[in-house]
Symmetry: C2
Subunit: 325 residues, 2 copies
Amino acid sequence: MAVYTHVPSEEMAAFLTRYDTGELVSAKGIAEGVENSNYMLETRRANGASERFILTLYEKRVDEADLPFFMDLLDHLGANGCKVPRFIADREGQKLQQLAGRPACLIEFLSGISVTEPTPAQCLAAGRAMGELHRASEGFAQERRNALDLPGWHDLADKCGTHLDDIAPGLAARVTQELAFLDAHWPNALERGVIHADLFPDNVLMSGDAVTGLIDFYFSCTDIRAYDLAIMHGAWCFAADGGAYHAARGASLVRGYTVAHGLSQAERAAFPILCRGAALRFLLTRAYDWINTPADALVTRKDPLAYLRRLDFYAQANPADLLGA
Amino acid sequence: MAVYTHVPSEEMAAFLTRYDTGELVSAKGIAEGVENSNYMLETRRANGASERFILTLYEKRVDEADLPFFMDLLDHLGANGCKVPRFIADREGQKLQQLAGRPACLIEFLSGISVTEPTPAQCLAAGRAMGELHRASEGFAQERRNALDLPGWHDLADKCGTHLDDIAPGLAARVTQELAFLDAHWPNALERGVIHADLFPDNVLMSGDAVTGLIDFYFSCTDIRAYDLAIMHGAWCFAADGGAYHAARGASLVRGYTVAHGLSQAERAAFPILCRGAALRFLLTRAYDWINTPADALVTRKDPLAYLRRLDFYAQANPADLLGA
């Protein structure tokens, strides 16, 4: 990731005068998040108190029309005890602004670091944080369609077409076969709710074994609730170098979630299928990006095959190994 | 700029245990500086005090053998009152480390923002800061050759060859003619000293009209002292959109420098030639990067022609317009 839209500091300082934040004293472009431009700002008030914020400019991947959903969701979650970054309102109560020709928002900064190789204790805390997120979202009335659901995967596979075989021989047929399996077995009857849909270690800030923040809600939407845990399972429970499944991480993640939220018998039974769907979702979006990312893009392309290996693993896995005892 | 080397937070946290800085609580990759990877770190001590640092990993453009020069220079400048970031020593007194297979250093964080369209008052302060830098460097005994001096420009022009004409028709001949002029008129007899050699607005942190820090010394070297001011003149005194010369900025910059350091009659007389050399230096490095940057690089290529326009301006300028009354 990179900074796509350069904002002169003079414009940032003028922008901040709309807010009750004090004066701009530092601004650094940061390499973070989905394809947005992000700056870490520091302000200082007349009494000397300093505060930090994230300034986000939305590039093509986030639809401006979706921003109110994200803002309202984070307000709701924050009010219900989740450690999520709030969008900051200006003196007129406005959260969505324009800056350098882009939709832009000032957002609360949360400290914490993202782990790369989570320990079981960190998986436990992260699973619990997702369970709390799902609990806290219960009273939230708004809905947002998941564009990356099963019909969305079909669309992506169609768009990739035979180019999939350029990534790995036989991949196109493997994807077609997996889609047919998921069409036949996808557990549509499971409970739905607001899901984060992208809770990778990158998006969980930690201090030691404690979660200090959940960030980057720009894929959040309404979908099968346990599918969110399946996404997390694929993202947290395999060695970062593309390798082995860590059963202790999986068991801890699921235990943390279960303690905070609970996981029904139906959800447990469907979990391997949900994990296959999650693996296919990231396989397909990575494959699509791989095929379509211009060679001169600022984005580092992620390896789709890391998710083919997960898909193969989930297709053969013993459910008890995924869920723990 | 971007983050080229990704360092897992676990490795960063382990790295910091060598230092007396407290525990890592936040790490953000920042888009800053020459072609290094930079992270902004926050640490917290047992007593709750938090501190910020820059962690730099040196990529190909900085030669590890030059790092001791930069470290010693910044120590010397800091000890003599300049607001420059110090390299932090670990508990064993070591400043140069290895991290993720790269030479790496922990560096003091300085707050402040970089202006894009400096006011005359900001040019005055920045010129004064350079004058103070030159004063403070007087007792510094080490030397480092400027690879981007007049012989270096010849090398660059040879390497670019006729590809210069792909950037603008006639550019190769224009460069050859300018090099001949500079060979004949370069003021080699002027006083030499340590120069920053890249003191663009990006590398000066400010709070309002006050300078809070001078950063990015990775081009610093030994060369004609007033050439440093000429580089600054080209970088600070033209509209950022590639346009007009601002005489009031130029006059303020030179006044600030003169107040803090002084500028001899010989330096004033040679100033237009020094400015032509500075413009050619950035024209050539930008042209070389333009020609040689792979289309898939993470770097945004800078327009060489912005410096052709400056070169044309300096070749015809009235010295009083450059220097002020």
